[in-house]
């Protein structure tokens, strides 16, 4: 049985128990969000010992070399001596420059980072509020086009961070930011490849960034962006998307509504059905395509399988799955 040394004490790891769970059992409050090896919120560092490879899978090479790992997906067989990374190493400051309502329950948050962040549109950052609450949001901004960070915040029933951003956060206030993280972004290696971008809800944020990044880089292949929502008030940035399509012959915007009647769909100029279903019906042969999937986990999961079976290589399917911490752990209002 492996032992974990932390803050001067030693703990035995239970069977099946992750390092995060072990520390929680010892009543430490380690910040976390997804508990699934995705958001990197709980990242820690080993002082001695070798973290299992699975707990470093999604980290950057530099972070791996420095011994960072994710305790939420860490099930070591050998003893580890670990520490919390000091905040200064990971977090920088960002000042709010804009909070604008985009739709009934999505607002745009723009931040200016105190020290420039080197990132790709579509990656995500972690925001930390004064009381330590941390949440992940994907980047809609494109570094070569704008110098502020843009995030789209969906208001969730009991979402502590999202409600606070919508109701209380003001221009001029500061937040801690960490990142960038994630590998769901435009890769400019083959500018002639067709791209299929599918998202629902605020999953449009990373896709809006990825599409503009690709176009700004001179991408020549066709780019199709399908944005889905159940109700019409969930579609936003429609003017922005349509002018992008007008300015670029190879960019195509397809809004989709799955829960509205024909009259509403027609007024919005939207197609009938869920975004992934419409997209995969339009494009049945995806060999050589690169596919981007952003939004709710069930959509991402099912679209990944459909895209793969339509011929896309798994390595060419990039996903940003929004794990909704508050909804999973607390009942919805």
């Amino acid at each position: 049985m492996a032992h974990i040394s932390f803050a001067g004490a030693k703990y035995s790891l239970g069977p099946e128990e992750s390092v995060l769970e072990c520390l929680e059992r010892a009543e430490y409050e380690i910040p976390f969000s997804c508990r699934n090896g995705v958001c990197l919120t709980c990242m820690m560092r080993v002082r001695e010992g070798e973290p299992p490879r699975a707990s470093q899978k999604d980290l950057r090479e530099g972070q791996r070399q420095q011994g960072y790992f994710l305790p939420c997906v860490c099930h070591p067989e050998d003893d580890l001596d670990i520490e919390s990374p000091s905040d200064a190493e990971l977090y920088g400051r960002g000042v709010v420059t804009d909070v604008t309502q985009l739709s009934a329950n999505i607002c745009r948050l723009r931040l200016k980072a105190a020290t420039p962040l080197f990132y790709h549109a579509g990656q995500f950052i972690n925001l930390r509020r004064g009381d330590g609450l941390v949440r992940s949001y994907s980047l809609a901004s494109v570094p070569r086009l704008e110098d502020t960070l843009e995030l789209h915040i969906k208001r969730l029933g009991r979402g502590r961070m999202s409600n606070w951003i919508h109701d209380d956060l003001k221009v001029g206030e500061a937040l801690d930011i960490q990142g960038p993280n994630g590998d769901c972004y435009y890769i400019g290696d083959q500018p002639e490849r067709p791209l299929l971008l599918i998202g629902n809800g605020s999953g449009l944020a990373p896709l809006f960034g990825i599409a503009r990044d690709a176009l700004a880089a001179g991408h020549m292949g066709q780019i199709y962006l399908y944005h889905g929502s159940r109700m019409a008030d969930g579609l936003y940035y429609m003017d922005e998307m349509r002018s992008l399509a007008q300015e670029n012959d190879n960019f195509h915007y397809v809004p989709c509504l799955s829960g509205e009647d024909a009259a509403v769909r027609e007024a919005a100029g939207a197609r009938d059905g869920r975004a992934e279903a419409v997209a995969l019906a339009d494009h049945t042969g995806l060999a050589d395509w690169r596919v981007y999937l952003c939004g709710y986990p069930p959509m991402v999961k099912s679209a990944k399988k459909l895209a793969f079976l339509a011929g896309a290589a798994l390595a060419d399917i990039l996903a940003d799955s929004f794990e909704l911490q508050d909804l999973r752990r607390e009942p919805r209002e």
Binding site: K301, K304, K305, F308, L309, G311, L314
Partner: protein
């Protein structure tokens, strides 16, 4: 013929070329696709990859015990010879599609066939 089977087939590149083809075949076969988990496709692909590396005579750390443990639950759910044969057929078709020569295919199929008793927990 001094090169190993793995080198003749094309090594890691051949595994990369084969894994998506093979995985897509088993996922679209209604006779066997219930046995392939799609909750984590990347994880499942990694498993297919280590299996193919072994079948191609490449470096691997598979043991008969691993194969038994990995398939124990599936056998309890009804995994049998007919499913094994189907999946083996998909492997053969994948190799043919990639233009691997008949001798090498025979060797791969022999390695894959040698795992039958472990996979079926006999």
């Amino acid at each position: 013929m001094s090169d190993s089977l793995y080198e003749r087939i094309g090594g890691a590149d051949a595994v990369d070329a084969a894994v998506d083809l093979f995985y897509r075949k088993v996922l679209t076969d209604p006779d066997v696709n219930d046995f392939f988990d799609t909750t984590d496709m990347d994880d499942q692909r990694a498993k297919q990859k280590s299996f193919l590396t072994m079948a191609f005579g490449g470096p691997h750390d598979y043991t008969g015990k691993d194969l038994r443990t990995a398939h124990e639950k599936l056998v309890a759910d009804g995994l049998n010879d007919s499913h094994f044969d189907k999946v083996a057929g998909h492997l053969q078709a994948t190799l043919e599609e990639l233009g691997v020569d008949a001798d090498a295919i025979g060797e791969v199929m022999a390695i894959a066939g040698s795992t039958r008793d472990d996979v079926l927990n006999r």
